[in-house]
Amino acid sequence: MLVTSPAFKENASHALADAALQKALARARTHFQRRRADAAAGLPEFEDLRARAREIKDHTLAHLDFYLERYAENVERAGGFVHWCRTAEDARAAILEICERAGARTVTKGKSMLTEEIGLNEHLERHGITPVETDLGEYILQLRDEPPSHIIAPAYHLNLDDWEKSFREHHTGLPPERAFHERRDILTEARKVLRERFLAADVGITGANFLIAETGSSVIVTNEGNGDLTQTLPHVHIALASIEKVVPTLEDAFCLLRLLARSATGQDFSVYTTFSTGPRRPGDLDGPEEYHVVLLDNGRSAMLGGEFQPMLRCIRCAACMNHCPVYGAVGGHAYGWVYPGPMGAVLTPSLVGVDQAGHLPNASTFCGRCEAVCPMQIPLPQMMRHWREREFERHLTPATVRTGLGLWAYVARRPTLYRWATRAAAATLGWLGRKRGRFASLPFAGGWTGGRDLPAPEGETFFARYAKTQRQGKA
């Protein structure tokens, strides 16, 4: 996927001017926030679960090699195959090889952000294999050739008209009198088309929400049931998962599952939670004949042991972006790559480089709401600050900001000089603003005054006035 993160400001500008998007954002924000708040309030042990979940992940990450090996052994014991992949390219090649060996012409796909991360669809298409997204949101995005704008609600930015337009364009044979009045009409149409695709698929590819070391199982959660049809109907099931998805036990997975749906959609549990352990066994009524796990690193092991390790606790619930005022203003596409919002602001620089994604950790007020709702208690603002430190060290911070900051720091370290400078500034601005009490514009302050007035200072600094009162007090 093309990285447009360097154009974050321009992307944001377009998003702010897009009336339909703004309407969708407002709707989604209210919906997700209310649902999550109700779900958290409805579970007395919610806060305890967060602490427990954090411990589980911290422990696993501290012994990641051990749990991954254990997981892989148990996958193989159940008759599955594990493909260890260091890079996105390795993962694409491994998946293509499995598909080609199976003689696949079409593959169905469950929703997976990791397949977006490695650009899997484009790769399969280039090799003559047709991927079909089966998550409803992902399906329409595939028709529209658009990336997801949210990690769990990929197409929330589209309205009913957009859906109808895309269906009419791509579903040839759709009668003109067919009406699309409500969500159900969309579902009926998508269901009809997707059913044929499910039956025709040679390989099914899903992601994994969790990998369980003690059983060798992969777990997916969906609300549409598309994941189950994707992984049980074709001959071959491939689960693509990044290495930090592993947890030690089934019980650990349940702790995280209880947090995941509540934090994401406000459900107690997702509609479908499916555990896959190996291929179909003798006597099983259904299931794939081959079961493969493609285990991907793609930069994650480099985060271990460093200041960004806590980010590997992320379970992709999207609570951070659902509560982020910046995401709420500009939406997901503005972030310019796979992962938007606060989790993306931390993860994207790790995966594509801070030189590309430098805007993302800067475009935050550090309001801290993301950390407050994160089920895994990831200190997202602190990690965005760490990225700013890396940028500063590498001189990636814009020169104007650097110079301004240097000048300010020089003065602020010298209280006497600082007193003099602030006194002059307060007096000048106070005098200039004395009539109106504010400025509608000021040289070098266009960033501020573009959208708001600048209140004028009272005119005298606190320290000047305080010195005066002290002298009067003594006299």
Binding site: E391, V401, G447, T461
Partner: protein
């Protein structure tokens, strides 16, 4: 029992010093009303957030060294800002994590730092305030105070002591106003959208005055209210609690009204 006549150092904050000295004097009046001896260390400038949040740890650390020096030896250090108090209390010690000599000093300082309003209620157990006010106000919870220092009930408790003052809550009191320090000038379009949303919420309460505990948010909110030519005014909560709102026009208003 509240401590008797503690020595309190006022951390004025750079924005109060430069833009709104009255807030500093309101803080002194409130602290004295609560029974504190207030001193204002001369050598203070800024808490260092502009550097710290821009990734310039070295400058932030140098400023922090000055703060450790100037604010040593007081019973408490109090700032009329959740943001600056949060910097000193939560973040400043992290600048000395690797320094076995300075780390204990930084932690000792952090233990004694408080935001003004929460200090008055939680430490000094102040029950009555000098302020008098007639009318309806609304209150914006600034993010650092709210989430880093858990300040939510304290300003409401003190405002409730003012007869005639009615508090009309915002629909989303915990939503960021879009100030964010340098964020507001680095990403002005996004910041403007956020403050416009905040101001819409404020206007819909019907209150004539919005209060908050942080001057950064207040400059942002007042600036947007005035840009929209709204009659709603903005003040720091300490001005009203101290009864000093008669001494200075609201933020961004002229003296002639």
């Amino acid at each position: 029992m509240p401590p008797s006549r503690p020595r309190v150092a006022l951390f004025v904050t750079c924005l109060v010093d430069l833009f709104r000295p009255t807030v500093g004097f309101a803080a002194i009046r409130l602290l004295e009303a609560a029974g504190c001896q207030v001193e204002v260390p001369r050598a203070q400038t800024c808490c260092g957030q502009p550097a710290y949040n821009s990734g310039d740890r070295e400058s932030a650390r140098e400023l922090a060294l000055g703060i450790l020096e100037s604010f040593a030896g007081y019973d408490y250090v109090v700032a009329p800002s959740g943001s600056c108090a949060g910097m000193l209390k939560v973040h400043l010690p992290t600048l000395f994590e690797q320094d076995p000599n300075l780390r204990p000093r930084a932690e000792a300082l952090a233990d004694r730092v408080y935001e003004l309003v929460s200090f008055l209620t939680d430490v000094m157990e102040l029950k009555t305030v000098p302020g008098r006010f007639q009318g309806t106000v609304t209150y914006h919870d600034s993010c650092s105070g709210l989430r880093e220092l858990k300040i939510k009930a304290q300003p409401r408790a003190l405002l409730a002591q003012i007869p005639g003052l009615t508090l009309q809550e915002l629909a989303e009191p915990e939503l960021c106003c879009g100030f964010g320090g340098t964020f507001c000038v680095k990403y002005p379009e996004i910041s403007t959208r956020m403050v416009a949303d905040k101001v819409k919420d404020i206007r819909e309460t019907g209150a004539s005055l919005v209060l908050a505990g942080d001057l950064g948010c207040l400059l942002n909110i007042a600036g947007r209210l005035k840009r929209e030519a709204s009659p709603v005014t903005a003040r720091h909560v300490a001005e009203v609690l101290a009864g000093m709102d008669g001494q200075v026009p609201p933020i961004g208003e002229s003296r002639d009204g």
